[in-house]
């Protein structure tokens, strides 16, 4: 049989299917046992499970970095072993746990590895690089010629993701790509990835052992344990009906508890309101309002305590040019405590026609409750986390 070439990036990948796939290593370890899994086009599937349960092995069988010892993996209905591995891999994006950027290549060269292997012209390559860097808010002029070690860990990992996207593959494999990052950067990258997937419509198979990450990102979650698939379902369904005690435990009791209707303000607040410091200028405030598309913004001091608010309207009225926010802000902010009843907060907003409530605990700004965040929290409780 002549080897076919996988051209997912040209023809459009349809579906990936694991049929009774097994992998046992030479030393007798059975890493994956009779795995059946179907990933549809455009899905974001997360493989999750404890360390050593076979997540990485399953993932690497897709691009033939590991060969299965039983069953078959179908890509577009054809066994992956019928594709030439080198061509196959060029058509599948791959992001790994350790950052895996090539230290001797610039950021641009790293991103362009696969396009180069596919023989793109230099001009097309560099346009693509610029486009991708902009996609994650990194200025091409600044970053293109830097070397990986001149970037922060979070930036490096972003480049890792961009590199996988570069040749526009339809299928991307990610193995704990954010595992080594601090929690804040991780969340930020998760948000970016989710947004990215919504705009570029990739099919993503993502490995993690962090349930929060899985819930945040996945359309469907596959829970593995000792090489076996325990449950494959939407996040909401897994939360609602865990297949067995193990899954329930893995999901975590606190998350199952969260499934109940939120009853305190803390549950419904947005923890990252748009804020600026008292020392910021009114110009900065305008710019930020514009970019975040809001018309009011909270002002906090260095200690994070709430100082007041500014709105686009009254900034314009006050002829505030050249003054700091501390000088011009209004101080009559409607405030609520994080442990107050959510329904009380809801009623207040309704009766007093408030746009938002600032959540303050011992003087510190903890978050903000808007109509939007309230609706979201309720929706999530009723229909599950999937949005």
């Amino acid at each position: 049989m002549s080897e076919a070439t996988f051209r997912g990036y040209e023809r459009g990948f349809q579906v990936l299917e694991f049929q009774q796939v097994s992998k046992s290593y030479r030393d007798g370890t059975i890493a994956v046992r009779d795995l059946n899994l179907r990933v549809e086009r455009g899905e974001f599937v997360v493989l999750i499970g404890p360390s050593g349960c076979g997540k990485t092995t399953s993932l690497r069988m897709v691009n033939r970095m590991v060969e299965p010892t039983g069953g078959s993996l179908l890509l577009e209905g054809r066994d992956v072993t019928s594709y030439d591995p080198v061509q196959l891999r060029r058509g599948i994006g791959y992001v790994v746990q350790q950052i895996g950027l090539f230290p001797h290549m610039t950021i641009a060269e790293n991103i362009e590895v696969v396009p180069r292997l596919q023989g793109w012209s230099p001009q097309r390559r560099s346009e693509r690089t610029a486009e991708l860097l902009q996609l994650v808010g990194m200025d091409p002029g600044t970053y293109r010629d830097r070397f990986p070690h001149e970037l922060s860990g979070g930036q490096q990992q972003r480049i890792g993701v961009l590199r996988a996207l570069a040749a526009d593959p339809d299928l991307i494999l990610m193995d704990e790509p954010f595992g080594a990052l601090d929690p804040i950067t991780r969340e930020q990258l998760q948000d970016e990835l989710k947004r990215l997937q919504e705009t570029v419509h990739k099919t993503i198979v993502f490995v993690t052992h962090d349930m929060d990450e899985a819930l945040r990102l996945a359309n469907r979650i596959a829970v593995l344990r000792q090489g076996q698939l325990l449950q494959y379902d939407t996040p909401a369904e897994i939360l609602r009906n865990p297949a067995d005690d193990f899954v329930a435990q893995f999901v975590g009791r606190h998350r199952l508890a969260e499934m109940q209707v939120p009853h305190i303000v803390r549950d419904i607040m947005n923890t990252r309101p748009v804020t600026l410091g008292v020392g910021a200028s009114t110009e900065e405030a305008f710019a930020l309002m514009q970019s975040r598309q809001v018309d009011t913004m909270l002002v906090i001091d260095e200690q994070g305590s709430l100082h007041g608010y500014v709105s686009a309207l009254h900034l314009a009225h006050k002829r505030a040019v050249g003054r700091t926010l501390g000088e011009v802000c209004e101080q009559d902010v409607a405030v609520v405590g994080p442990d107050e009843d959510a329904s009380t907060a809801f009623n207040r907003m309704d009766q007093e026609h408030l746009q938002y409530l600032a959540v303050v605990d011992e003087g510190q700004l903890k978050g903000i409750v808007t109509r939007r965040s309230m609706v979201r929290a309720l929706a999530a409780a009723i229909w599950g986390d999937a949005q």
Partner: protein, 230 residues
């Protein structure tokens, strides 16, 4: 004359010459150590001095041995003194380099802790840094000694004693046996000292708890995660 009968008949004198050869090599290397190690201890904190000294030592190291021997011979005359002086010069580079590298490789955090425990600078140097650096310093000595044993054979051309005299003599009379009688003990001596000092370095390393660093490469299975999920 066959090789074995040659070796057998001259065993005593070969051993004697080998002994002299070893002594001269060790003498040159130890003299080098006496200068290079204390200098390294002093210089490692001074990047300027350190780099200058390393450059000088490395340049000396680069000079072909016969050339350096011949040049020194003009000042110091024929004989063992010139050989030892040359060996001394060649020994400087590896030992200076390794002393400095060894000290620099010690985790600065440990030195901080030592000082935190109430050690003076001097005590921290001798009780923490030097012991931790000792495997690398010993390795420097080992490299210097093996080099010395090799270069000492060339000493024959400036009238020094040692196994070179057997080798060169053998070349002149075209006696393979005699060449071998000089070459083999020299090679053997180098290998034995090399092994012995490597062993010492490992022991010093074990004592200073640096052994884990010797595991340079982990096989994938060595990173097997805990299988505690069953």
């Amino acid at each position: 004359m066959s090789l074995f009968s040659y070796l057998f008949q001259n065993f005593g004198s070969i051993m004697q010459i080998a002994g002299i050869h070893a002594l001269l090599s060790i003498e040159g290397t130890v003299l080098g150590a006496i200068v290079a190690i204390p200098f390294g201890l002093w210089a490692y904190r001074r990047p300027g001095v350190r780099r200058f000294a390393a450059a000088v030592a490395e340049t000396i190291q680069t000079i072909p041995s016969l050339a350096l021997l011949a040049i020194l011979m003009i000042w110091l005359g024929m004989g063992n003194t010139t050989l030892v002086a040359t060996l001394f010069l060649y020994a400087l580079m590896p030992m200076l380099h390794n002393t400095v590298e060894g000290l620099l490789s010690v985790d600065p955090g440990l030195v901080e802790i030592a000082k935190g425990l109430g050690m003076s600078n001097r005590q921290a140097l001798w009780r923490v840094q030097v012991p931790l650096a000792s495997p690398i310093i010993i390795t420097g000595f080992r490299m210097a000694l093996v080099t010395s044993i090799g270069i000492a054979t060339v000493g024959v051309f400036i009238g020094a004693e040692g196994l070179g005299s057997l080798i060169y003599g053998g070349m002149q009379v075209q006696s393979a046996s005699q060449i071998f009688a000089g070459a083999a003990p020299a090679a053997l001596m180098a290998i034995i000292f090399d092994g012995f000092l490597a062993f010492l370095a490992v022991r010093a390393g074990r004592r200073s708890l640096r052994l884990p660093r010797l595991h340079l490469r982990n096989s994938p299975s060595a990173q097997t995660p805990l299988k505690g999920d069953g």
